[in-house]
Symmetry: C3
Subunit: 363 residues, 3 copies
């Protein structure tokens, strides 16, 4: 308990935790106040995500390099996973897919671009481990192909219908998880030295003791699940109140809320000239969502959703993921960065956000 | 006046200036002779473009590095801008868009490829500043995304109509001009040293005195505007006489005529083993058209055109711009060139030209 | 004769030659046993391809570097060419195109990826000549543009019909062969030193004497043609027996059978840490099929096919070739490889194979 208080004092973001009981109470008292519930749930998810990320890192530090890296690599996007599972359970497949695609794009463009910009405003030129970035963008490229091919082929071939899409999605999900697993084996075990300078293990804050960390991990996950339910229920209707399209909400708002904790770490790394950390978090997180969270949701949908979910995304989303991956690949090729690189990457994200904001709602 | 005569003696291309009064007279006497007027206007635009480019450089040299670079970067494609404005005023949006897309592709592929080839036939291997090339191709990539996303999304979403396209185009235009401005800040101010060897300021010919240069700039711009009017009016009808499709004329002929002056500089640079100069002109000019001229035309169309123009291009043109940008990105990655690199880039341009030449006219 | 026996003793693969008379006899006796004939013809083509490849290399060694390189570069895919010519003669254009596209993709992804993986399982990190790889991927990129543009433009422009496609295909075929020829001039003559470490001339087995090699070349080509006829006739029907779609058979099975000999060389090179050899065979072979075999088939179709063949491919195949080229370009950019790079490239191939396997048959 004392440890949690120390963390609370060091990280003012966590004071937002007070919104957790507030939103859960409000949901009981005023289940119709969608806009209020939406705002409260956002305020509650942000600190929970930060706490979850800190607890994961603490467990990772305690368990040593290999297991710790594995933990970080699988639980690093626990918030996104819990939100998506809640939406999956509610049968909101559009929201699930939009939030997955949005999270990939937000990590690859917004988090990476803002890190380059924030770092570049302080340091003239920054360098980072480009081998590590190359492996992550290659994984992203593989995931993009896996999302692209089914929709390209099914377009060219109208006869191929939902049945093909479903079978293909399961096969691709297994393939992507296997690729992700082999990627971990490569970067944590057989070729660890190539990723040396990434320093992803060094947490800035003091790690929690193992017991506290595990308890926090379990408890906060439950809380995230509870708040996510309010968030998922309220997000669409309150979006209309704000005049936002559902596509914009799923793709931009949910992704930025879900990734807020990692963004805080990535930006702070960039300001401390530890760009390796920022690039690792941004691209690693995008790869994890594309090759682990998304396929996992497809497989899990056979058990918890009303009907199975496939990997066929809205074509506009596939194009955006493709462009985001290409941008990251071309930009990280040199292993050097300056403020303007950040501007360029952010501009691509802005183009996406603007397009989605102006897009009229479908149906 | 003496200065102008010296220039005329050094540059036989400028003797073509005699066609300026000829075409303007011919237009009064024989307004129906489209083919003749087309040929005369081409012969008149080429030397005017060369003179305009020389005057811009002279003003740039006099005003010092930062302002000069800015002038070069904004007025470097004055010919293309004036031709496009004339076509815009005449409501010829198809021609405007084809000439913009064509100019981007001609600079990125034809000017770059021919520079590599001409330089490579004389020197075994040539090197150039690849950091500078990378910034320009990144800007081009951003512009390509800005052209691609609206058409990709509106295809995927038929409900999104002309209204979306119009609002989006204004937003994208502002974004692209902002990116271009920040790019100038980056390359002319904060990270100037990265672009050091580009030597874009060194003009081969002696610069004009400031007064003469400014007067030339103003006078020649007026002449280009007058001749452009004849050119725009005659180009489509005379194209039919030559058996060319409108797409081929707008994309290939107008682009090559408008860029003739810069091509002369780029090719001469390559023959003198100053490939930095050639690559800088080719890619810089393409970026300028994509991120400054095209967005400016969209914004200006609200004031001078019959109806506002949007940024939605013919899908075939978007694909060509995308391929041209990818080609330039991949080819300039190494910072080295040999004759065969030029052949490869020119071949891509030839494929485009051949396809457009064979394409049956629409409508 | 003695030489052939020595080869037979060193290369157990060649014992499969016994299937050549078997399949030709079986075809006479049981022309309806499609599945049997298919299996027998596969078993017969594999050793013939190996023998053909060895004979070509022997002739190449005898004739010296320039002519030898040229021979290798034009006859290296003789097996694929003969199979495709047989299918062309039978009017099986779908099979011809599927096998061409499949061979490009199989060489670029399967052969390259498996070489990286097999080499990487033995050596920690392997290096290869990336300049050479860059030239080959650039040629592949050019061929991809040539396949992409016609279908992109004709989609955007429905008015453009079969007539355009035919004229364009002939033009593109001439252009691609010219680019391939200039590429040979570049890599074998003017800039030979850049390709130095490729060592493609060093055959592992002792070369055949010139006379034996030429006789083998001629004799085996005739045998391949005879067996190919059985293969082409039986492949589609026996595929149905195995529950495979025609797309899968043409794209995957035919490509792997036709390229088996080169794969054996590429994999053996990778295991001996001569990755230059593997990358050269894989990418060189893909470039040769895309820029020499495919265009040649278009031109030849005017003489031997029932109607001329064009270069317009099924959109799904174009997307796969595009992705394969992009993958090879991005992956070979660094000139270094480890086992995981091989896994990534193979995964892309697996995604393609799985999609084609699940695709319902058309029509």
């Amino acid at each position: 308990m004392r440890h949690l208080f120390i963390i609370l004092r060091h990280n003012p973001l966590l004071w937002l935790l007070v919104f957790v009981p507030v939103v859960l109470t409000a949901e009981k008292l005023k289940p119709e106040a969608h806009t209020l519930l939406f705002l409260l749930s956002v305020c509650a998810i942000v600190p929970l995500a930060a706490l979850l990320s800190h607890a994961t890192e603490s467990v990772a530090v305690k368990t040593g390099d290999a297991v710790g890296g594995l933990l970080n690599a699988t639980l690093g996007n626990l918030t996104e996973l819990v939100i998506a599972l809640t939406a999956l359970h509610a049968g909101e497949y559009m929201l699930v897919k939009a939030s997955i695609a949005g999270a990939i794009v937000a990590n690859t463009l917004f988090m990476l671009g803002a890190s380059f910009l924030l770092g570049g405003l302080k340091y003239h030129v920054q360098e980072y481990n480009r081998v590590s970035a190359r492996v992550q963008t290659s994984l992203l490229f593989l995931a993009t192909v896996a999302l692209l091919i089914p929709s390209a082929v099914s377009r060219a071939d109208a006869a191929a219908g939902a049945a093909l899409s479903q079978k293909l999605s399961v096969g691709l999900a297994v393939l992507l998880i296997a690729a992700y697993g082999l990627g971990l084996l490569f970067s944590l075990k057989t070729h660890r030295e190539l990723f040396a300078s990434a320093e992803s293990g060094e947490a800035d804050e003091a790690p929690l003791p193992a017991g506290v960390a595990l308890a926090t991990l379990a408890g906060v996950t439950v809380l995230v699940a509870l708040v996510s339910e309010v968030f998922v229920e309220s997000v669409q209707q309150s979006a209309e109140t704000f005049g936002m399209t559902p596509a914009f909400v799923g793709f931009i708002i949910v992704a930025l809320v879900g990734g807020s904790a990692e963004m805080a770490s990535a930006f702070s790394g960039a300001r401390k000239n530890r760009l390796d950390l920022s690039v690792g978090i941004a691209l690693g997180s995008a790869a994890q969502i594309a090759l682990f969270v998304a396929p996992l949701l497809v497989l899990v949908s056979y058990f918890i959703g009303p009907t199975p979910m496939d990997l066929q995304f809205w074509p506009g989303a596939v194009v955006m993921i493709l462009i985001a991956t290409l941008t990251a690949t071309l930009i990280t090729n040199s292993g050097r960065s300056a403020w303007f690189v950040g501007v360029l990457v952010l501009m691509v994200y802005l183009i996406f956000a603007m397009t989605l904001y102006l897009l009229p709602p479908r149906g």
